[in-house]
Every structure is written in structure tokens, then in C-alpha cells.
Symmetry: C2
Subunit: 434 residues, 2 copies
């Protein structure tokens, strides 16, 4: 049986998972793929610390370039992350004629054009299944399983940290700050949590999904990105009372030749499948013109789930190489003829959840509904709440409104004008309804 | 760009969907795959009836063998169904050196060894993604995305008719017979519904999934198969009161080298993702040793969803052929070295829901719990119900019990003995709890 050698760059959580998985399921993969995938080395600056896996110390090296140059290695797995040394090593691998598997969403979202261009020029494969959705093979599904579909829309829960925080806020009635502290203590959130909770990680993944579906590099600066930092425990509770659960969603939609990519907390109807996706789990609902709605669910991060997808990609390349070097075009920038363009977020229409902290005196409501009416924002339902658990202003009460479909820019203008009247004590909270 | 010709056998619902999809998304697929997939003909005995799609009449023929023999056609799509003419045409296509895409679960489940053997012998591809899960690319995910995983278990809702019936029974409080009549009138159930409601269709699909995961042909006669015909509206209601939803599940589990495949109505906890799969939708939860739990959801049948998966398979073969005829081993019987064997269903342990129609007099309960105790079946909770909506026996009341984990054979013996005492008026209903 033909042997294909693998070199892993980065011996962190995922790197250790990939190494362990390749060693554990080598025989099984050989039976399934007809090719023997052999781990030939793992490179990291630190090869001393215990990673909790059994591995021959002779496989460990601090010399990444030596792995890349090793003629017995055909596939390089980049698990370093970021756009610094990871990028130069990936380009070095291409230059050496090696195919690359990576889980590096930042690298692809920010330098995708350069990376895919270099792979194409050198005639090697780049696979990046684990860059979105961890253990969920969503990248492969989009590129192959749904290859016969025009993708109409995608709605994804793509950040486990945010989903964990939102689930605990709802289940335990806690505030955002309390749960974040807990999550940081438990290792579910970084000490510098901005990448997760402000939506940037989700945005990177959304850009990759949109790029695959529509065949062009989605520029990060054309995404509307809002995180979950401003949500109160009361928002979660009020949403539930209206029959919704708040999720941080990546929303990718196509209208004719315009593609729109947004990331924001969203009220999802409780009966929708995405509302059942709790804790650290991720899921993506994909609507194709033929398939209709399909959903893919699993662990979006973690050593073994991510390794599962990385190893699936390794298997594909190994099979390609074994099949006399057949190479399949897997890059992002292959399916667009320039017709599909990005749509600016301001022109979006949506239904909205509004929470306004309103002065507790006669006439307040009238002033607000008057302004909203002038901007054509029509109210579906409104309810005044008792003081919530994390309100501080004594003389202001929360008023929650659900709107009919309205233009984003109209809603923004109306809320600004309401704020300027002084009838509310803070900028109103505005969440989209799915 | 290289052209690959496709001939479709069978111009029914799915055949029309595949033809329409290939015509509609031809350009898109060419951009994505780098190969031009061309519909060259559709064969059916009836080429006169209107299928509601726009198609050049010159593409239609009644001569299936002529399509198979056409040198401009490299891929034959079999959508006739059954094991009669469909089987001989598939073998004829192999003999002519053509690769085949099929959605025919019966053919694969019952004649898989012969079909895969013939394809292997002739060196052609056979793809069958649409045989399980309709528009859900679950076959591809199992074979490729999760190729690096040992599959620990699969739990699937694989029959849309059953799921539709169960959803309506719960939502509208109707009896099985009422919903079935409605479903038949609406075209969601066949006039001869046994294949669906008695679990055979689910069993075919379960056998295919197990075969892919474990690399051997799963014999249909070693599956435990129970349908939903015996469920009452009360069972659905009582299950909900205990926090469960009843689903017809395919359950595939592996313990060491033993694989067990079962199909039966199952109480799924309301919080479990599978409990949110309603109406005609299907879903499969797959647990891999690396990936952990992943779930795949979508439309399990219908013209366009099934066409989506068929066309995905066509795209794979077209790409293989374009890549200088590279061929990937896709059959079922490739990954097992003979170690993995089927486990007989009798030895299974599970938690159970029991409904007993008990004589409304003193001592009845004591007799039952006594017998259950003797067989080591321990009761987790029991409740006596008022007369339900579809009970007929005046002097008997429903008693529902949930058990701790118990051996299937012990439970069966205990229920038989309880029935023989005459304390119940019918064989007790026994459902497994997930």
C-alpha cells in the first residue's frame, strides 16, 4: 500500500489531537482510503511539555523547515494560527511542492487571495475544513455535497464561547459579566475575550463560508459585525417571553447577484432547530435552491473534534496523491465570474427587538411611538417590564418592542432621535429577529 | 472544458428533479468543478406525461439500453427503484464501463454485495448518496468527512412519513389511524403504507449507514425492526408528560467488535436535538471517537432535495473522470477485515416506557410490580392515567411505567407473564428510551 507522509506544524491542543488521531486510527484509515497515512513529524518551539498523548519522541522537532523539506512528507498540517510565522511556513510548504491542511481562519479570511493564489500557482492542494465549525464537516458539505445547489442563505452559530455564555445567561438567569467571569475561570473564554464576544471570530468564519458558497474573496471590512457584550440578562429573559432565544448568528444571504454577510445577536424562534443548539455546540443551517434547508451540528472547537476534520482533509489529499496525483481545485476563488458582489449592510430590512430604558412618567411612550412611526417603523407588540435583575436606573423602566419588517437605517435614525429627546437614559438595544 | 455526459433512467419525481437541476445549475457546476456536466438523455416507459419541467423532447427516450450504450454518456443515474429492472440496468451500465449514481436503498440493502462486487470487478464507480436521507449529504459525510473516526453510534430519523405522523399525533392530539388517513389523502403516505410505518424503509437505510461505517454488508434479517402502527395518541401524550418525544429511530451502535442495528419507536428527551426534528424532516446524529456528536438534518425525500444529493454524486464522478480517470473506492465492502460482526438484538439493554391497560381493581399493580421485580426490571416511575382519548375498554385503565436499564429479553418475559395473569386486557406496549 502506498505511504503518504504527514508533518504537523504546531503541537498545541489541536496539533496533539491530530497527532494522536493519526496514530490511533491509522489502520482504519488505510482500510477506508486504500492509502497508508503516516505521521512523520511534529514541529513546535516547545517539544518538552507533556501533551497527554503517547508519541515517539523521535517524531518531535523544533525545526519546522526541516519537516517541510523532508522528501518523505507530502502533506503539511499548519496548526500554529495567526498570520505571522504560520503564513510564511504555509508559503514555504507550497514552494516545496507540499499540499497544506490548515485550521487557520484568520489566515484565510485576511490573506485568502494570497494563500489560494500561491497554492494554485504551485499546483498543490490547500484544505481548510477545520477553519469553520471544528468537528462539523461543513466546508466539505458546501463544496461537494451541495455542489449542485445555488446557495440561497446560511445561518450559523459559529462561536462556542458566545453560545456557552448565552445558554448559561438563559438557563441560570445570570448577567453577561457574571457568566463571562465563570467562563474565563473554566477555560471556555480567553482572558482577552474580544475576538470571541465581539463577533470577530464568527466574522472570519462567515467570510470563509460565504467565499466558498459564492466563489470570491469576501473582504472582512464589508461585514456588519456586532457582538454580545451589550446584552443584558433581561434581554435574554424578555426574548424567551416572546418565544425566542438569542443566538449570535452569522447571516449570509444572496439576493440575485448581491451577497450580504452579517454577524449579530439574533432572536431565533424557539421552535427553530438553531434554537436547540446550546452550550459550546455550533451549527450551520444552509438553504440550497434544490436541497432546501439542511443543518449541520457538532462541536465547533476542541482538540479531538477539530482533529477529526483536519484528518478528514488529510485523507482527501492522501487519496488524491495516491490516485496518480489527481488534484482537485479546492480554492475559494474559482466559481465566480465577477457578477456576484457584496451588498452594504445599511440597506438591510429585518424585524427588530428593541429595548428602551424609558423615563417612568406620562407621555414617554407617546414620544417614542411617534418618532418610530415617522420613520415607518411599525410596532408588532410592546410591553412595559418591571425593573429587571441588572437594571440600575431607578427612574427608568424597560420597554420592549417587537417591530414589523423595517429598514435598518430607518430604525437607527429613529432610535438616535428617541435618545436625543432624553426620554430614555441610554441608547436603546436593537436586536434582529430571524 | 471537458464534457461529461449523463443519462438518467426513470423520469419520475426524482428523475425530473435531477434533469431540471442539471439543466438549471449546469454553468454553476462547471465553474465549481472545472468540468461541464451535460444531460444527454432521460429514459422512461412513459415520456408523454407532463413532469412540470422544461426539457428538450429530443432528450427523452423509451430505450434505456440505448442511453447506457451511448458513447457520449459516462454516468448513468438509476432512479427506477426496486430490485427488478433497476438491478439489471445497473449491471448493464457496469458491463458497458459506465459509472452509476443511484438512490435505490432497496437495491443496495438487499443486493449490495452483488452490486458493489460488479462495480469493483469492472473498475467503475457506484455512488448512492441519495439512498439515505434525501437532501442530507450523510453518506458523503460518513465516508469522507468522518473518515478519520471510528464510528461509535448513529441515531437517525430516516422516514419522513413516520415523522410527519408522529408530529401531527403530538401537536393535534390525534390517533395514529386518523393521521395516517390524512397523510394518505395529502400524498405524504402511500395507500399501502407498510414499507414506511412498519419500519422497513428505515431499516434499509440503517443497513446502508451501518455498512458504510463498519465496512461490511449488513444482512437485513439480523435487524430488529418495529414500526409505529401500535402507538396510541395517549403514548405520545404520556411520553410528553415525562419530558420525551416519540420518534421512529434507527439505532446503530458498536461495542468492541460487535455492531447492533435496530429500528423502533423511541422516547427521545425533549432537550435532545433529535426531538426538534419534526414533520417530514430527517436527521442523523453520528458519534465519532474524535468528532464527538455531530448531527445532519434536512429533507429526507422529495424531488429537489433528493436531486441535490444525486447531482452532488454526479459531480464527484465527473471530477474523477476529468482527473484522468482517477477512481476512488467508494463501495461498502472495503474497510472490514472480518473482525466486526453483527450482534443479536435480544441481548440489548435499555430503559423502557411501558403502557399496560390494567384491570381497575385492587391488587393489579402489586401483581405487575412483583413479576417485573422477579425479572430484575426496576421501576423508575409509574403513573396511573385517566381514560385516554382512544381507549375502549371501560374496566381497564392505562398505567405507564418508566424502567431503569433492563435486558430486553427479561422485559419481554415479564410482560408476557403479566399478560398471562389476565390483569391486563392486551399485550403491554413497550418502547425504548434513548
Amino acid at each position: 500500500m502506498k505511504q503518504i507522509g504527514v508533518g504537523v506544524l504546531g503541537f498545541g491542543t489541536v496539533g496533539a489531537g491530530v497527532a494522536a488521531g493519526l496514530l490511533k486510527n491509522r489502520e482504519l484509515m488505510a482500510q477506508r482510503l486504500g492509502v497508508d497515512v503516516v505521521l512523520r513529524g511534529v514541529a513546535d518551539l516547545d517539544i518538552e511539555s507533556d501533551r497527554g498523548i503517547e508519541i515517539d519522541p523521535a517524531l518531535l522537532t523544533t525545526d519546522a523547515s526541516a519537516l517541510i523539506a523532508n522528501p518523505e512528507i507530502q502533506i503539511i498540517v499548519e496548526l500554529i494560527g495567526g498570520t505571522g510565522v504560520a503564513k510564511s511556513l504555509v508559503l514555504e510548504a507550497f514552494a516545496a511542492g507540499k499540499s497544506v491542511v490548515t485550521a487557520n481562519k484568520k489566515l484565510l479570511a485576511e490573506c485568502g487571495d494570497e494563500i489560494f493564489g500561491a497554492a494554485q500557482q504551485r499546483g498543490v492542494d490547500i484544505y481548510f475544513g477545520a477553519s469553520v465549525g471544528g468537528g462539523i464537516p461543513i466546508v466539505r458539505v458546501l463544496r461537494e455535497g451541495l455542489a449542485g445547489n445555488q446557495i440561497t442563505s446560511m445561518h450559523g452559530i459559529l462561536n462556542g464561547t458566545c453560545n456557552y455564555i448565552l445558554t448559561r445567561m438563559e438557563n441560570e438567569g445570570l448577567s453577561f459579566a457574571e457568566v463571562l467571569r465563570d467562563a474565563q475561570a473554566a477555560g471556555y473564554a480567553e482572558s482577552e475575550p474580544s475576538l470571541d464576544i465581539d463577533g470577530h471570530d464568527t466574522a472570519h468564519k462567515a467570510a470563509i463560508l460565504a467565499s466558498i458558497a459564492y466563489g470570491f474573496h469576501v473582504p472582512m471590512d464589508q461585514l456588519l459585525v456586532e457582538g454580545i457584550r451589550h446584552l443584558s440578562g433581561n434581554d435574554v429573559r424578555y426574548a424567551a417571553e416572546f418565544g425566542y432565544r438569542i443566538k449570535l448568528l452569522a447571516v449570509i444571504t444572496r439576493n440575485n447577484e448581491e451577497v450580504e454577510v452579517r454577524v449579530h445577536p439574533t432572536l431565533v424562534p424557539l421552535k427553530h432547530m438553531l434554537a436547540s443548539v446550546n452550550d459550546v455546540f455550533n451549527a450551520v443551517m444552509v438553504k440550497g435552491d434544490l436541497s432546501g434547508n439542511t443543518l449541520y451540528y457538532g462541536r465547533g472547537a476542541g482538540s479531538e473534534p477539530t482533529a477529526s476534520t483536519v484528518i478528514g482533509d488529510i485523507g482527501d489529499i492522501a487519496r488524491n496523491i495516491a490516485a496518480n496525483g489527481a488534484r482537485f481545485e479546492r480554492g475559494i476563488n474559482v466559481a465566480n465570474d465577477g457578477r456576484v458582489v457584496m451588498r452594504s449592510p445599511g440597506s438591510v430590512s429585518s424585524r427588530y427587538y428593541l429595548r428602551l430604558m424609558v423615563a417612568d412618567k406620562a407621555g414617554s411612550l407617546g414620544i417614542m411611538t411617534n418618532i418610530l412611526g415617522r420613520y415607518g417603523v411599525s410596532i408588532l407588540g410592546a410591553t412595559q417590564k418591571a425593573h429587571g435583575c441588572d437594571d440600575v436606573q431607578e427612574d427608568y423602566v424597560p420597554v420592549v418592542m417587537l417591530t414589523h419588517k423595517a429598514r435598518e437605517s430607518d430604525v437607527n435614525q429613529a432610535l438616535k432621535e428617541i435618545y436625543e429627546t432624553g426620554v430614555v437614559c441610554e441608547m436603546p438595544i436593537k436586536l434582529r429577529i430571524m
